[in-house]
Amino acid sequence: MSLWSEAADLIGAALLLLGCLQSLLGVIGMLRFPDVLSRSHAATKPQTLGMLLVLVGVALRLRDGIDLGTLALIAFFQFLTSPVASHLVARSAYRTGQTGSRGLLRDDLDPQLSDGDGDGERPGT
């Protein structure tokens, strides 16, 4: 076993550890944040950064062509689909008025949701 493969194994294990730590911190953020939108903000940390670190760590430890392709596909599909789910959840949270008890400082979505006359649909009504 050469020096390079040992170094790749060690760096891969370190990246796996960092990715799992990132996932744990994101889940702790999900437990501590107060409303749906900020929980969704915390939830993107395991889904993107933690996932990417774990996949790069696995790729550094396996080092096979087909496995690298599969890992790249996993990262691609994860990064393609998780914004769709987050967007729909955040949209549904806005439409049902669960945007937090402190309210929004600036609400750019409201004039776009209304028809242009009157005050439009207020969140929470």
Binding site: A13, L17, C20, L21, P34, F77, Q78
Partner: protein
């Protein structure tokens, strides 16, 4: 060589323990989540945690047997929360507190 191997083994075990602790905390959010949307977000994160756990197992064993499972989870894991957000969450408005304000928690 053996010392390095032991260090890597310890790092992988610590990674698995972190994934398990994160999953247990996430079960708390799924169980007590005040609204259905919190549960939808938590289910997305659960899919991500399962992918990470399978990845740590693959890195530990050095085989790629479960990579198709990770692939399917990566591109079908979002359908549950999309369904919840589109069809269920509208019926699940937050409860009103006695002072008239909505309980968002």
């Amino acid at each position: 060589m053996t010392v390095l191997h032991t260090v890597e083994e310890a790092m992988l075990v610590a990674a698995v323990v972190m994934i398990l602790v994160a999953g247990a905390l996430l079960l708390h959010r799924i169980w007590y989540g005040p609204s259905m949307l919190d549960r939808a977000v938590a289910l997305d994160v659960a899919a991500a945690l399962i992918i990470a756990g399978i990845g740590v197992k693959a890195a530990h064993d050095g085989d790629s047997f479960y990579f198709p499972v990770m692939l399917v989870l990566a591109f079908l894991g979002f359908t549950g929360s999309v369904g919840i957000a589109r069809f269920i969450a509208v019926r699940d408005r937050p409860a009103r507190r006695p002072d008239g304000k909505e309980d968002h928690r």
